[in-house]
């Protein structure tokens, strides 16, 4: 039997449901710019109907509606996009990290400027050639020593700077390991909360947003992948090794490794080395261990050829006093090369025969080393270093292009995800209007009931007075 109070409840359910929907709209608008936020929407359903009986009508007259109730609050999300987006953006982050480090490396080497290593070496060879034209000139001799020092300094500086760059990346890698642990802990905590909320039948929408954002960041950092389980928890792994399982985390640690004391990342539980498949970390590892290291190795190869070639020729000549030449360079690597401190300008071995001041054949020979092709290099020293610089340039160029392209792909996927899950203010405005109007209508109905009650209580005859 319809009751007035039943009608009031019906109107009330509509008022409550729509004011709740207004809140959801407000929540969406408020989070229009929150990273990782997925828009939510209210799913209404008519509440359980009751059978009509008694005076309303005979049996089978139909059921009587009891108003509206909120079924659930939906969260717009496409899991397929998440996985794809994470994989692509991990690749993009790897290229970006690599590009940034390589850019620094290239700037450090500054080969295309006047301070490049090739111009510096050329100057050294030139000074020998100048000396060859005027072998008794002490000023020219002093110049050879100065330019020799410039060459040694140039190698020293590059070696130091590459090492510095490597240790900067090393620090970043150590930080990343801490970040991985921290994010793993947060994800495990969120797992616990989410499965708890789900188990009582609720939708933990905002917790899911938070966890998805963390998973995005973790993928971008380390190329981690995740899979959701039936209870709503995610399992996270990096390169096949579990990081988060349910409420548990498997942490990583950093270990200093020989020979350079750079850090590697290892799993605490089994001491196996973590090789990130993609992400910023992979970029950092590649830049530190492959590209920078190759440049340094190349420099060292070049330096050892330079030292042995120059010293061989220099010791075969004779100085201004007729004494045999001393080794010109000392040291063995780019870091340790220096001009023999015992050398004075008069000690430069320009002559090929002892006691011939006008003889400069040995200086010519030293100048000609510029065009010599040491067996260890297979090219002249200039060409060898030129090839090194060019290969770094090509690596950087392709890293830059990869970064651009992968960012475009990641952006396209992110746009697609955003297209589904993002907040559109026009839509929210329209929804707001929709809910507002429904709320107003329900209030109007409530008003009508009020008047009906008024009629019943105050206006129905005067018999009882």
């Amino acid at each position: 039997m319809p009751t007035i109070s039943g009608g009031i409840h019906l109107a009330l359910s509509a008022i409550l449901a729509h004011s709740h929907a207004m809140e959801i709209t407000e929540h969406n608008v408020a989070n229009a710019n929150t990273p990782g936020y997925r828009r939510q929407s209210v799913v209404y359903s008519a509440s359980t109907a009751t059978a009509s009986m008694f005076m309303e009508g005979g049996p089978l007259a139909g059921q009587r509606g009891t108003g509206v109730s909120i079924d659930r609050i939906d969260r717009f999300n496409l899991q397929f996009f998440d996985g794809r987006y994470r994989a692509v953006s991990a690749d993009a982050y790897q290229s970006v990290a690599q590009r940034d480090v390589l850019k620094q490396l290239e700037a450090t080497l500054a080969e295309t400027s006047e301070n490049g290593l090739i111009p510096t070496m050329d100057q050294f060879w030139s000074s020998w050639s100048n000396l060859a034209a005027d072998p008794t000139n002490l000023a020219l001799r002093a110049q050879v020593l100065d330019y020799g020092k410039d060459v040694a300094d140039a190698f020293n500086r590059r070696s130091t700077q590459i090492r510095q760059l490597q240790s900067d990346q090393d620090l970043a890698i150590k930080d990343s390991a801490d970040q991985i642990n921290q994010m793993a802990t947060e994800i495990a905590n969120l797992n616990a909360e989410i499965s708890h909320v789900l188990s009582v039948g609720d939708q933990p929408n905002d917790l899911l947003d938070k966890r998805d954002l963390l998973l995005d960041q973790l993928a971008q950092l380390s190329g981690a992948v995740s899979s959701e389980q039936a209870n709503g928890e995610v399992m996270v792994s990096i390169n096949g090794h579990a990081l988060v399982v349910g409420h548990d985390t498997f942490k990583v640690k950093t270990v200093q490794e020989a020979p350079n004391n750079f850090s590697s990342i290892r799993w605490e539980i089994d001491d196996v080395q973590l090789n990130p498949p993609s992400g910023t970390l992979k970029g950092l590892f590649t830049a530190r261990d492959t590209v920078a290291e190759n440049q340094l190795t190349g420099l060292n190869t070049l330096v050892s050829s330079l030292i042995s070639e120059v010293n061989t020729v220099h010791t075969s000549g004779y100085d201004m006093n007729g004494a045999a030449g001393l080794p010109f360079f000392t040291g063995t690597t780019a870091g340790s090369i220096s001009v023999n401190s015992a050398l004075q300008p008069a000690n430069l071995a320009a002559a090929s025969v002892a006691g011939e001041p006008g003889n400069s054949l040995n200086a010519s020979k030293l100048a000609d080393l510029k065009l010599a092709k040491p067996a260890a290099l297979g090219a002249t020293m200039g060409e060898y270093y030129n090839a090194q610089v060019t290969s770094l340039g090509i690596t950087l160029q392709s890293a830059t292009q990869n970064a651009t392209h992968q960012n475009l792909v990641a952006k396209a996927l992110s746009d697609q995800r955003e297209s589904v899950a993002g907040v559109n203010l026009n839509e929210e405005a329209a929804n707001m209007l929709k809910y507002q109007r429904a709320f107003q209508a329900a209030s109007r109905v409530l008003n009508a009931y009020d008047e009906m009650l008024d009629r019943i209580i105050n206006g129905m005859g005067l018999g009882g007075r």
Binding site: A32, N33, L102, K103, E106, A107, E111, T112, G116, I118, P119, D122, W125, S126, S129, A132, A133, D134, T136, Y318, G322, A351, V353, A354, G355, E356, P357, G358, N359, S360, L361, S364, A367, D368, K370, L371, G382, N386, A387, V389, T390, L392, G393, I394, L396, Q397, T400, K411, Q416, E418, S419, V420, G422, V423, N424, L425, N426, A429, A430, L433
Partner: protein, 309 residues
């Protein structure tokens, strides 16, 4: 596709940033006048330009050497020319001395001092220095080559240069040549062999003076032969010196030509084509303005919220 506010804003920012980056690159190209600032901008051309720079430096070295070598050889030529003049004067003097009409006293008092004077001049030119190095001392450029030793009965010309490292050893039989590299794998001797070309001539002058003093016409006749032979040798030396100088000059010409070629190639590889770059910047500017306009509208366009009462 459903478009959200975030997509609009991010897109606008992205497009503005992309355009700015392109403008920045063009600005850099125009401001520096170079097509690339670092190897990664254009690895292939950067590699070529590094190589070209290096060979340009090389060419410059050879050109510098070339200049110095030419200077040295011109100085030798000048000295030899002067020595030939002395030789001609000396021959005239000797011929006059051989004249029967002259008395012994005249030879001794008039001609011998003149000859002495000529000998001094000849010694001066034979000991000429270029850039503080003796021209005719072979590789022993710090030693004065010719000295008149008057300690004995007959004055002799001593050729002094010897290996400094072996002071007691006798000087080598021949003058050692000074070698200079004027082009890749091209080495030439730049000096005139002082001992073989000049020593006998100088000795001849000295002998002539002694003969004039002693009024010894046979000896005077002999000295004439020596002086004449000296002239022939000097002529030969000048010819050879001139031939080598021409070689140096032609190498220099070749080097200069390749320098110009390498420079223009380098400029082609790395210098900005200004007209092109400025036009591109102009075009980019127009695009950028348009992007700014569009972005401004996209970001600030009214949403439904603004229009609701």
């Amino acid at each position: 596709m459903r478009i959200t506010q975030l997509m609009m804003t991010n897109g606008a920012i992205q497009h503005m940033a992309d355009n700015q980056e392109m403008m920045h690159k063009l600005q850099e190209r125009i401001a520096t006048g170079k097509n690339f600032a670092s190897a990664s901008d254009d690895p292939v051309n950067a590699s070529i330009s590094l190589g070209l720079r290096s060979s340009l430096k090389n060419i410059q070295n050879y050109l510098d050497t070339n200049e110095q070598v030419a200077d040295w050889m011109n100085a030798s030529e000048f000295s030899l020319e002067k020595l030939e003049e002395v030789s001609n004067k000396a021959q005239n003097l000797i011929l006059r001395g051989l004249n029967d009409s002259l008395s012994g006293a005249e030879r001794k008092n008039a001609l011998a001092p003149d000859m002495r004077e000529l000998l001094q001049q000849a010694l001066e030119f034979a000991n000429m220095k270029h850039n503080d190095q003796f021209l005719f001392a072979g590789v022993y450029t710090s030693t004065q080559p010719f000295v008149l030793d008057e300690s004995g009965a007959a004055p002799t010309i001593v050729y002094q240069p010897r290996n400094l490292a072996l002071p007691t050893a006798p000087p080598p039989g021949i003058n050692r040549a000074i070698q200079r590299t004027i082009a890749p794998n091209q080495t030439i001797s730049i000096n005139v062999m002082g001992e073989s070309v000049l020593k006998d001539f100088l000795q001849g002058l000295s002998d002539a003076q002694q003969a004039l003093l002693a009024d010894d016409r046979t000896a005077l006749q002999n000295s004439l032969t020596a002086v004449k032979l000296g002239l022939v040798k000097m002529d030969e030396a000048r010819t050879s010196n001139g031939a080598r100088l021409r070689q140096v000059q032609s190498v220099g010409d070749y080097l200069e030509k390749s320098q110009i070629e390498a420079k223009s190639l380098l400029s082609q590889k790395e210098d900005t084509n200004m007209a092109e770059a400025v036009m591109m910047l102009k075009g980019q500017e127009t695009t950028y303005q348009a992007v700014l306009q569009v972005s401004q509208r996209a970001i600030s366009s009214t949403s439904l919220f603004d229009l609701l009462r």
